[in-house]
Every structure is written in C-alpha cells, then in structure tokens.
Amino acid sequence: MPDTVPFAPPDKPDKGPPTPRDRLLPGALRLDRLTLQVAGKTLVDIEKLELEPRSVTVVMGPNGAGKSLFLRLVHGLIPPSSGWVSWGEVACGEATRSTQAMVFQKPVLLRRSVAANLDFVLRRRAGSRAERRARRDELLARVGLAGQAEQPARLLSGGEQQRLALARALATLPKVLLLDEPTASLDPASVQMIEQIVLAASAEDTKVIFVTHDVGQARRLADDVAFLHHGRLIEHRPAAIFFTSPASEAVDAYLAGRIVL
C-alpha cells in the first residue's frame, strides 16, 4: 500500500442492515452469468453480483474494463448475449428502466432552454402546471441553475450542463440513479456539487451506481465498490475493506496509481 493518510469516510446516514424484504426493492440488483459479446469478443463476463437496494455502489476499473457497458446492461439499454439481470425480482426491461435514470458521461441536452429541458421530462408526470413549475424551480435551485432557466441549454459550461442532466434525471424521481463518469473533466466546484446531490439522493433511499475511475471520488462516495477489469468482476466489497486491504493485485496496483494492464 502507498503511504497515504488513513481515510475517514464521510458521515452518512446509517441505512441499517439489509433485510429479506430489501431483496424485493427496485434498487436490489442481481446479475447471473452475465456476458456481452460483440464480434466474437467477450466484453463483459460477470459470474454473479448482488447489490444492496439503497447503497452507493461505485464501479471502478481502468479504461476499457467494461464499466459503461455494465451500466448500459443493467439499465437495459443493450441486451446481454447471455445471462440474467433483475431488479428486486423483476427482470430488467422497460418496466425497470422506467424507475431508473441515467446520467451519461457527455450530457445529452435538448436544443432548448434550460427550463424546457426539465419540462420535457416533467410534462409526462402527473400534477398541475403550477406544481410542475414549482418542481422545476426547485430542481434548478438544487443544482444551482436557478438564474439560468431561460438560457439555451447548450450554451452552459460543461459543469452546468452535467448539473442540468442530473436535475433532469432527478426529475423522474428515480428509484435507481445510474451515473457514467459524470464528473470526468469537470471543474472542482461542479464535481463537489454533483457529489453532494448524489449523496443527498442516496440519503433519500435512491440506489446509486456511480462509475468513476477517480479513486478520491470513489472514497468520498462509496458504500461498496465493484472493480471491473477486462470485463470481469475482480472484487466487490464494502468500501472500508476495499480501500484498506485490496485482495487482488489489480486493485492494489490501481489504488496505488500504477498502470493496470
């Protein structure tokens, strides 16, 4: 291990141990012999993985480890070549996807104003016009964009765009929030804001799966860490153990900042 200062995890509300009922919650993910092959190459091959319904799971691994594909597989955006994904005993599909929201590495915003980007999602939810407007203003305030509601969304800075994408994801009131390296190449203030919003969502019992290869960020956010390498699950352990006593050479090297091949 490198000589780093011992890491004190941030205070998080205690979510309590999982109960048998938890396995039925929409945030409880189970994978069985999941594989994805493209053009004869195996890109993802995970024997078994179970995630608790309310924790923040950080998915780490070097580039090309299959992190983004993993996220798309569990969200149901791409079908697996074989194997099985379920959320709280419901097979992954359109029904589970509608209870989830995904934030992509590069935010995809509509060519409209900031407010219109949120309205696009809020419009399809119940409630009066006034309620939706209040909800929109609340979301904008939450991500620090209250003053920019009427601006063209695509003229926002990278950090602001990603915050808007996050606000749009939260507008769907997701049970599961999936984030694919949302803070890669963003300014520190936006990174901090996004992490705080994600932790706040987690505190409200939203399951979070956060893909990153920033070790510091993983330490700040994770309840548990899944480490992928060459499409395989190398380790999945509680954050405290993962960071202090890595069980595999790959994780040890990765945490020490060495190149993992």
Binding site: A101, L110, V121, P152
Partner: protein
C-alpha cells in the same frame, strides 16, 4: 445585342411600374408553391422522423425508394397527376385538371419526397445523439419524433427552403396539369417559357429576374437562420 439591352429595360420597367399581369403571375406562383411546400412539410417531416425512429424490417429499401423519388423528373409527375385527374382518370370526377389545385397536387408529389428524404438525413444525426438518452427516459416513439422535429427545426427550415426552391422553379409538372391558362394557372416558369417562345423577352426577363431574386433571398434567409442557430449552439 440591342434586343438584349432593350429586354432588360423593358423588364425593369415592368417591375418598377408594378405591372398587374406580372404580379398576378408572381402571386399565383407563390400561392401554389407555398401551399405545396406546407403540405409537403406536413407529410415529409413526420415521414423523415418515422424513418429515423423506427428500425423496421425493410427500412433500408424504403429509404432508398424515398431517396430515388427525389430525382423524379417533374414532367413524369405531371403526366401521372394528369392521368389521375383527367376526365377518364380515377380522380377525374373532382374536376381539378387545369386548376391551381392540380398544380398544388403535382408540386406536393414532387417535393414531399425531397422534404422527407432530406429531413431524414437531418434528423438521423440528431437521433444518433438523442437515442440512448430517450430510451433511458422511456420517451415514446411519438414524443421522440416530435422532439426530433422541434429540436431539428433549424435544419428542417433549410430542408423546407430546398423544397420550395425546387417547387417554384419547376416547369414540367405545372404546365401539364395547369395548362398555363392566362389569369388562371399561369405561373412564373410557364409564363417564361411561353413569353420566350412568343418573343416577348421583356416579360420573360422580368419574371426571370423576380424568380432569381426569390431564389437568392431564400438562400440568404437559410444562411441567416443557420447563423442564428449556431450562435445558440442549436445547429
């Protein structure tokens, strides 16, 4: 050469004096082509969006078909509409032959495929960007099509202008189904053809100048819109 400069003089004279016959022809041209454009957009935009959103079996063939319809010769379209609308034709009972309505139908058939094919190209790029996000959000096909059309608005205006340019400059279809009847179905292109063969170069040239100015301003309008779109990062 004398003919040439005299014709120019006459042409500008007609335009400057606001010649009634001249502007009647211009007005009908605009009315026919703008109506055909409106109908073509109502048909073409949704078809373009549908071809982008739905990956059905045989989609490639449909796209190839629509693309090849872009190059359909106007006279052939005119002939087909003529056959349909002539007294013995299936739609003969409508009595539309040699009326502006017949010209609108012919021009719509001519440019709707152009609008559909070009808007598919414009929206394809947008869809590539939006697709995953829309599927993640669970956006229905209908909403996705509408969102693509709304968000592709600047590109689609360029498409519409291309369609309008084709419609207003086309002569083969309108002359067959319209018949170039004075005060009824005479439009700029058919009038130019007629006046030139009659030797009334002044009138022909006056119409030609107006037709070209319309084409130029349409293009200027298109690039102005593009500039606005780029400034808002909406292109």
């Amino acid at each position: 050469m004398q003919d040439f400069s005299a014709a120019f003089g006459l042409a500008f004279g007609l335009i400057a004096s606001g010649d009634a016959d001249l502007f009647e022809i211009v007005g009908l041209s605009m009315r026919v082509s703008l109506t055909a454009l409106l109908l073509s957009c109502l048909i073409g935009f949704p078809i373009g969006a549908l071809l982008v959103v739905r990956k059905f079996f045989g989609r490639g063939i449909v796209i190839a078909l629509v693309n090849s319809m872009m190059g359909f010769p106007p006279v052939v379209i005119g002939l087909l509409v003529y056959l349909a609308l002539s007294r013995a034709g299936p739609l003969g009972w409508l009595g539309l032959l040699y009326s502006p309505a017949a010209m609108i139908i012919a021009q719509t058939l001519l440019i709707a495929p152009i609008v559909a094919a070009l808007s598919r190209q414009v929206l394809e790029a947008l869809q590539a960007e939006y697709d995953e996000q829309f599927r993640s959000l669970g956006v229905s096909r209908g909403s996705a099509m509408l969102a693509l059309i709304v968000d592709g608005r600047y590109g689609l205006v360029t498409v519409a202008l291309a369609g309008f340019g084709r419609a207003v400059a086309e002569v083969g279809a309108v002359i067959i189904v319209g018949g170039n009847i004075e005060h009824l179905t005479r439009v700029m292109t058919t009038a130019i053809a007629l006046e030139t063969s009659k030797g009334d170069l002044g009138m022909a040239l006056a119409l030609g100048i107006i037709l070209m100015s319309i084409a130029v301003s349409v293009n200027l309008g298109a690039s102005a819109l593009r500039a606005i779109a780029e400034r808002q990062a909406y292109a």
